[in-house]
């Protein structure tokens, strides 16, 4: 086992956990105009946790479905990846909390907009299940959606920070141009109004600039921590599998690793299995692949069959190289002399094309 790499993967998981923790801390704070720090409240956190649970279940189902398609007909929910040691558990907890912090960090804290965002996120999660692209805690599409929602929340916070309690204020043409104070109430129309209480703003008002900095850094920190922890967890699982294979004699272990390349281990469902089931699964997959290899070899050995169906020309030469490479090498050594019927057929085809033989001599 590569001890340095093992240490690196565990370090990566812990580092990712730290990043997620710091990010969650920053996403949970807001600063008012007096410089006081307060929390963003429990409501959005609770809803974020619920949506993260839903996304996790969808991911597990996606894992099971994917493994069912790719590996074994009897695969099911029991084949989902589960953490098998402390770093693995930390990676899962980190990923779940990162998703919770991210969702709760981008949700608006209350009001009708909150339910609108819940519906959008729920629809995206369900759509993700239908695509069965599980296996990742945060897809690129989901990340884009969360970033857009963060932008929306920042816009609302910006408006609230200016004591503008609406999403948008549109000046009414002509009326808004007139310099009369008594027209002030009808000079503009507000769209998407909200109240400070709905969004949990502190009584002294939300100081936008430092809060923006907190939330933006928190969001980036959570995403970076999640990606780091995920990548490290995958490496950690690969190290477990590698360690098991390395219990075989050296040459045999090398052979097994050639048959089962490392970059296929996750898609083959080897991650997250207990050691006993992991060994059995590797046995099964090696047996399947060896059987397939032998079938292929047997098909290649049926050289005569291929020679009889040789169409000649470029394709024919490739066929012949596969079926009888020694004969092909011998023909080249004779200065391009070809003695087979295919050569004659080849030359005839060449004459048909341009009226003169091309290259080589004819028997």
């Amino acid at each position: 086992m590569n001890t340095t790499r093992e240490h690196s993967s565990v370090t990566g998981i812990v580092g990712g956990a730290w990043l997620v923790g710091v990010g969650g801390l920053l996403l949970g704070l807001q600063i008012d105009w007096n410089g006081s720090v307060s929390g963003t409240g429990w409501v959005s956190f609770a809803i974020g946790a619920l949506l993260a649970v839903g996304a996790t279940l969808v991911r597990l189902r996606g894992d099971a479905a994917r493994h069912h398609d790719e590996r074994a007909p009897r695969a099911g929910v029991a084949d989902v990846s589960l953490p098998r040691d402390v770093p693995g558990i930390l990676a899962v907890v980190t990923s779940f909390l990162a998703l919770t912090f991210l969702i709760s960090g981008v949700l608006v804290p209350g009001g009708p907009w909150l339910f609108f965002e819940i519906v959008v996120l729920g629809a995206v999660i369900v759509a993700r299940r239908q695509r069965a692209d599980g296996g990742r805690w945060l897809s690129n599409g989901m990340l884009t959606l969360l970033a857009a929602m963060l932008l929306f929340r920042l816009w609302i916070a910006y408006q609230g920070g200016r004591n503008h309690w609406s999403l948008l204020s549109v000046d009414i043409p002509v009326i808004s141009w007139l310099p009369f104070d008594f027209l002030e109430p009808v000079k503009r129309v507000s769209l998407g109004s909200f109240t400070p209480d709905e969004f949990g703003f502190p009584p002294a008002g939300l100081s936008f600039a430092p809060t923006l900095a907190l939330w933006a850094v928190g969001f980036v920190s959570c995403v970076a921590g999640l990606v780091w922890a995920q990548t490290s967890a995958r490496e950690h699982e690969n190290d477990r599998i590698h360690a098991l294979i390395r219990t075989l004699p050296g040459g045999l272990a090398n052979f097994v690793e050639r048959i089962l390349p490392e970059d296929e281990w996750q898609s083959l469902g080897l991650h997250g299995l207990p050691e006993r089931r992991l060994a059995r699964r590797i046995e099964t997959i090696v047996a399947e692949r060896m059987a397939r290899q032998k079938e292929l070899q047997a098909a290649l050995d049926a050289g005569k069959l291929l020679a009889q169906t040789n169409p000649g020309g470029f394709a024919g030469e490739i066929y012949r190289s596969i079926v009888d490479p020694e004969r092909r090498v011998g023909a080249d050594a004779d200065g391009g002399t070809r003695g087979s019927r295919n050569d004659a057929a080849d030359d005839r085809r060449s004459r048909d094309d341009d009226g003169s033989p091309r290259g080589g001599t004819h028997s």
């Binding site: 093992e6 923790g21 720090v37």
Partner: protein
Amino acid sequence: MVETGTGAGRGLSLAIGAASVLFVVAIGVRGVPPAKSVAPQDVIEEGPRIVEPMQFLGSGAKLRAAELDEWIAADRRARFKALRDLVFHLDGCPPLLEWIASMDGQRLERLLGELRTGTREEALAGLTLLYQVARATEWKPGVMTTTPQAPAERLGSLFQDWLRTWGEKSATDPLLSEPAVATALVYGRVMYVAQNAPVIGTLQAPLDRARTFLNELLQTGPSRRSPLGELVQSRHGSALSRFVGTDDPLSGFASDALTMFPDLKGNCSP
């Protein structure tokens, strides 16, 4: 694997423990309640005291102005009474610049300076006189003058002097907190009038002067606000937001001051 008994294993355990604590803290901070808005409590003071100080600044001040006499130091009480009678019976809406340059106006200005350096009750008494002068003189910009902003700027400087002395310490004073907040708004309104004095266009100098002073008084920058700034924020948050974040910073102050004192228009109209 990292052996749990080794130094690396202990380090890993510590790191995981610290990450867990960080997770708990990250969840826990969401419940931190926001700081309550600063509101000075009504303090029951020993002995006699002035109640409802805002009534001395409103249009009905003349009904109670005489109550202030007993709070003035004996050596200036007579002058205060005389000037109080004078300003509360000022007729004809004289132009502020002319009146303040007159003998009576100079006497008043000297007395205001003395009252500013006196007790809190004397500070309130001085403010009462100042509001009455603003109510009884004309400081609205003239159309045909070369310096239409001058009367409003002059009045603004009188308010500024009072705020400079008492603004900061008034925030936690039950007697002066509300008058100080109101005076900050009125100062903003007066300087807004000066800024918009020309018939065409606006003046930058009054705006810059008012903005610099109010920024210093309320500490509206990114750092923590002053106690008076917190009071203004809690009572007139919209005005303060407009002061911080718009191209027309004094408009919020002007609007709120006009709502609070509709008779302070600079033309003696009720």
